[in-house]
């Protein structure tokens, strides 16, 4: 019940990629140790996360689709968007690589190859940050994929994990953020094929919900979280986070 809660608890709406990578489980206890503020993460799709914040059901928004975040602030729902960190998207696909994209380095060319060979490609198709980035990349490749029952372009309409599961089984290609990919455990038939293209940069920002819209919002505590994430301590913690020896996220210089 609410009365039994510690006075300082924040609700943060975030995406599954941050949670599934384990980053938040690492960061937030440090923040709590420093400030005494406990953060509760509701990890959902980017669209849903923004909707949650819009309704005042979250105090802080932490997602990875810059245009939506800016729009959220512009509409007066958020105070200010602070860039926190980035990682990158990677193109994964069947180990045999039927479209021959391995080590192309150029993601637009790789996608064009996938389309030309009509090898199955699994899109999340859920308006998530990853999905929106993927659409941006198709545009860069000048391909207009359309989902059809028997077509090679398939929308799973599901989360990143489920989409990777599907790609692993069929097999097919998929775009994923690196964090989810590294943490993903069921990738027996998949390989990381394309990485490092500047187009693949994936930026995360934090927004505190505007207390003028929702008076109950814990803006002060939220502000402390946003500040901490972008502080030296926070950035050091982000940079230090490793899975299997690999860094997953890189703090953005102020």
């Amino acid at each position: 019940s609410p009365s039994a809660e510690a006075p300082e608890t924040l609700i943060m709406a975030s995406t599954t990629s941050t949670r599934d990578s384990g980053l938040l489980d690492d960061l937030l206890p440090r923040f709590e140790a420093e400030t005494g503020i406990a953060v509760r993460v509701v990890a959902v799709g980017t669209g849903r996360a923004i909707d949650l914040a819009r309704r005042g059901d979250a105090d802080v928004l932490f997602v990875h689709h810059r245009p939506s975040e800016l729009e959220f602030v512009a509409e007066g729902f958020g105070l200010e968007r602070l860039p926190v960190m980035y990682n990158d998207f990677v193109l994964v696909g069947p180990r045999e690589d039927p479209a021959g994209v391995r080590e192309l380095g150029d993601v637009a060319a790789a996608l064009a190859n996938v389309a030309a060979n009509e090898v199955p490609f699994f899109s999340r198709g859920d308006d998530s940050g990853t999905h929106k980035a993927e659409l941006r990349l198709w545009a860069a490749a000048s391909v207009e994929p359309s989902a059809g029952a028997s077509g090679w372009y398939r929308e799973t309409g599901a989360g990143m994990g489920a989409t990777l599961n599907t790609a692993n089984q069929t097999p097919g290609y998929a775009l994923t953020d690196r964090g989810t990919w590294i943490a993903f455990r069921n990738r027996s038939g998949l390989d990381l094929l394309v990485e490092g293209d500047p187009l693949l940069r994936n930026e995360y920002g934090v927004v505190v919900v505007n207390p003028e819209r929702h008076p109950h919002v814990k803006a002060a505590a939220g502000k402390r979280l946003a500040d901490w994430l972008t502080s030296d301590a926070g950035r050091a913690a982000i940079a230090a986070y490793r899975v299997g020896g690999e860094a997953l996220f890189f703090p953005i210089e102020r």
Partner: protein, 234 residues
């Protein structure tokens, strides 16, 4: 809750617009769940009847197991069916995964235990009345089961509707074994989940309204059929 008004408006818009995508999804949902109901009935009802009627050592345990079937989490069933149908799984050669066939298999595995457990109770209630008569008349085994199914037919309808309800509203199994692939395995519930994750709650609710209307249709038809049979019998 202005969303509710908006939800109804969007549901109406979709229906009036006869959106072809929507029609596809609706018809797939209905077909999958009704098809899955057939093996669920054929397996679950005799199973429930057998456990209700037969006296064997460990029968109490069988009842517990049957009831436990109602507490099988869809996600777990989904995973098991996934492992079964996966390319490296025992039935991988059927290439069923991420096809409507996989949805049928998954819903069947989900609904059969429910039908079995609920029908067991129906049969047990009827068996107290019929046991001595049927045994005296010489009806044993499958014959007794068949007679009891016939005698309890009206009560079993509710069991079937519960099974249909579980199948048509299920989402966990469908996402795991069907993959919610657009134009292939997307059904009403996975579409609703998708719109929810997109944050488009009115559309999600609108689809929910349509799903309910669909179930309403099935329920009304079932009840009308039952009434007709009742009248014919009287």
């Amino acid at each position: 809750m202005a969303e509710l008004t908006e939800a109804f408006r969007s549901a109406l818009g979709l229906i009036v617009g006869l959106d072809p995508d929507l029609l596809e999804i609706v018809s797939l949902s209905l077909r999958v769940s009704l098809v899955a109901l057939v093996p669920s009935m054929l397996l679950g009802i005799p199973l429930g009847a057998t456990v209700a009627i037969a006296r064997f050592p460990g029968r109490g345990f069988a009842v517990v197991l049957l009831n436990l079937g109602m507490a099988l989490p869809p996600v777990v069933i989904g995973l098991l069916v996934y492992l079964l149908l996966s390319r490296s799984g025992p039935l991988g050669d059927l290439s069923l995964l991420f096809t409507p066939g996989a949805l049928v298999v998954g819903q069947t595995v989900l609904v059969t235990p429910l039908v079995a457990a609920l029908s067991r109770q129906v049969f047990e209630d009827h068996w107290t009345e019929y046991e001595e008569t049927l045994r005296s008349l010489g009806a044993r085994g499958a014959r007794a089961v068949a007679t009891l199914i016939f005698e309890a037919r009206h009560s079993l309808l509710t069991v079937l509707l519960a099974g249909f309800g579980r199948a048509i509203t299920e989402v966990g199994v469908a996402i795991i074994v069907g993959g919610n692939i657009n134009h292939l395995t997307r059904i009403m519930t996975t579409a609703i989940a998708l719109e929810t994750s997109r944050g488009d709650l009115p559309l999600a609710l609108g689809l929910g309204v349509i799903l309910l209307a669909l179930s309403l249709g099935v329920n009304v038809l079932a009840l009308a059929a039952q009434q007709a049979v009742r009248r014919a019998e009287a």
